[in-house]
Assembly symmetry: C2
Homo-oligomer: 328 residues x 2
DNA sequence: CTGAAAGCGCTAACAC
DNA sequence: GTGTTAGCGCTTTCAG
């Protein structure tokens, strides 16, 4: 049986309220009694009961970060940043909770949130439908929730996302400056808001610059009559590689530019260079935290429904073939 | 303000206890009142308060699965299996919680557990020191906890692990049967109990069979005078590949057998075949769940301190070079 | 400085 | 069938 305030009170011949005050360093209790009570609590192995505290406080001082899994940096980074930011700035705990993209699990977690098992939640959804189903439950009861990185199409819950549009415009511009005359967009994934914004930007900017533009999926076979200088856009390195696998003829006698988000591992093969837009997960995490916290603390009235906060990319890296370019 | 029993009671002109009973389908309440109360609760968006329920029940009906991250199947599988098993057999929820191998986060989570934020925990620790520091806190207060897959050296908390010793003995035997005359063990990682057991088994069985035996780390350079048929053992494919990278001469004119755990991706290059011991994560998860649950339900007295439950591997797969072996 | 008492939201004996 | 009462463990007025 775990020690309670009552038990300590009895052991120390004082009232529970005194024990409570002593343990919370209330200046009103005499130093002597505080010390005896504290040592008593220590030797009895006292720990405050979490449920009781949450009940009386009406809050848990906890925010959940709900993510599908932790395969890549896209999900690792928010976990780290949000945890320390919430702790330092708000004295809140972050609990990273996984739903593994399983609708049942996801549902149960949302249920628990509705029961106020946490004060707020930051959600990084998968592109799938699962995520859309339940977010209205949270919004309906005014539960503090924020989507990050991705989000269901027309959710009323505020979202913190990368400014994909401007990042892609910029990358198209860089490609044009480097001589590209045509753009192939393999962003694919209809229904994913991030990919959609990226595609729109690529289309917009390439038109503006009079570049040939082709939006296609990974299996599309591009005619070999296309210009010598082309740029391939996708959301990830793997998408680019998949596309090139079925279009290996493109690399023959061409200067290819590759552009994607987050990471490029290894050489920019078969391209000349690869542009990589690094998303700013630190800023995104912090803004998401600020948003949930302001909703938790009741300033939430000011958050417009369906707000979309766009965070610029941290940088656009240029990955080139260092062996070719190395002097000598 | 979220709806409470009290508010529903007032709205329905009944007592809170009646509302409570009605919502839990207590047969004592009249069907009519039950229905009105239920519809009332529905339209008011009532959800039971999690903290209050946990407080009065004295338990949370929740078990945490505490893991470093979710990079590989070693951590994915337990999450899936434990979640459904706990739900189906015990009506308990599983929450997958990440500590990201960060000592601070890990500590806070253990703290929360000590405050009974969950009824029990299954821990898959990293090989690092972080994990050992805090497990005595849990054990000291009799908090239901079980280590799975790996565990700190001499912890008193029960552990569910793979029967690494017998799996490795069997694999050594298979290698011998396939003609191997020598064994190189690259299991490395001193301090990791699983790796240690595997190494012991490889030594034991290779001695018994009069095979040459060499235990070394990845950077060790093996003399080229060794027998033609050798087997390389490690805990993972990557460890084997790292070793072979610095010992590429070994592959010349030799029939190499490779043996590791969990997965082999691609061809068994540069070996002839690769043996892969598949750990039985389903059984391990289920036994771990049964253990925590028996501790939670008070039958815990029977669990001997420092118990180690060894689960046999699911199977030992043989991965061969299908191109070479394909007929024609 | 400390105790008494009320209450957080919910459940469960115990009345009637 | 339903209301009354007490209590889970803790915090927080309000007295004294």
């Amino acid at each position: 049986m775990a020690a309670t305030l009552k038990m300590i009170a009895k052991a120390g011949n004082v009232d529970v309220s005194t024990v409570s005050r002593a343990l919370r360093d209330d200046p009103r209790v005499k130093a002597a009694t505080r010390d005896t009570i504290k040592s008593l609590a220590l030797e009895m192995g006292y720990k405050p009961n979490w449920a009781a505290r949450s009940l009386v406080a009406g809050k848990t001082r906890t925010v959940w970060l709900l993510i599908p899994d932790i395969r890549n940096s896209t999900e690792q980074a928010p976990a780290r940043h949000a945890a320390s930011y919430l702790d330092n700035k708000y004295g809140y705990d972050l609990m990273v909770v996984l739903h593994q993209n399983d609708a049942r699990i996801y549902h149960r977690i949302i249920e628990k949130l509705c029961q106020n098992a946490a004060d707020g939640v930051i959600i990084v959804p998968r592109g799938s439908r699962n995520d859309q189903d339940f977010s209205p439950m949270l919004h309906g009861r005014g539960f503090p929730a924020v989507f990050m990185d991705r989000h269901p199409a027309k959710t009323k819950i505020p979202c913190v996302i990368t400014d994909n549009f401007n990042a892609c415009r910029k990358m198209v511009g860089m490609c044009a400056d480097a001589g590209a005359k045509a753009v192939i967009d393999v962003s694919g994934c209809p229904g994913n808001n991030a990919a959609a914004a990226r595609s729109r930007a690529v289309l917009f900017e390439s038109r503006k610059r009079n570049m040939l533009h082709l939006h296609c999926d990974e299996r599309y076979v591009v005619s070999s009559e296309w210009p010598k200088n082309i740029a391939v856009f996708a959301t990830s390195q793997s998408a680019i590689c998949n596309f090139i696998r079925t279009n290996s003829h493109l690399a023959d006698g061409r200067d290819m530019l590759l552009a994607c988000f987050d990471d490029w591992i290894g050489e920019p093969f078969p391209g000349k260079i690869a542009l990589v837009a690094k998303q700013d997960f630190k800023t995104m995490s912090e803004r998401a935290c600020d948003l949930v916290m302001s909703m938790i603390n009741g300033n939430g009235k000011k958050i417009p429904q369906g707000s979309r906060l766009k965070v610029p990319v941290e940088s656009i890296l240029t990955v080139d073939n260092t062996f070719q370019l190395a002097p000598g």
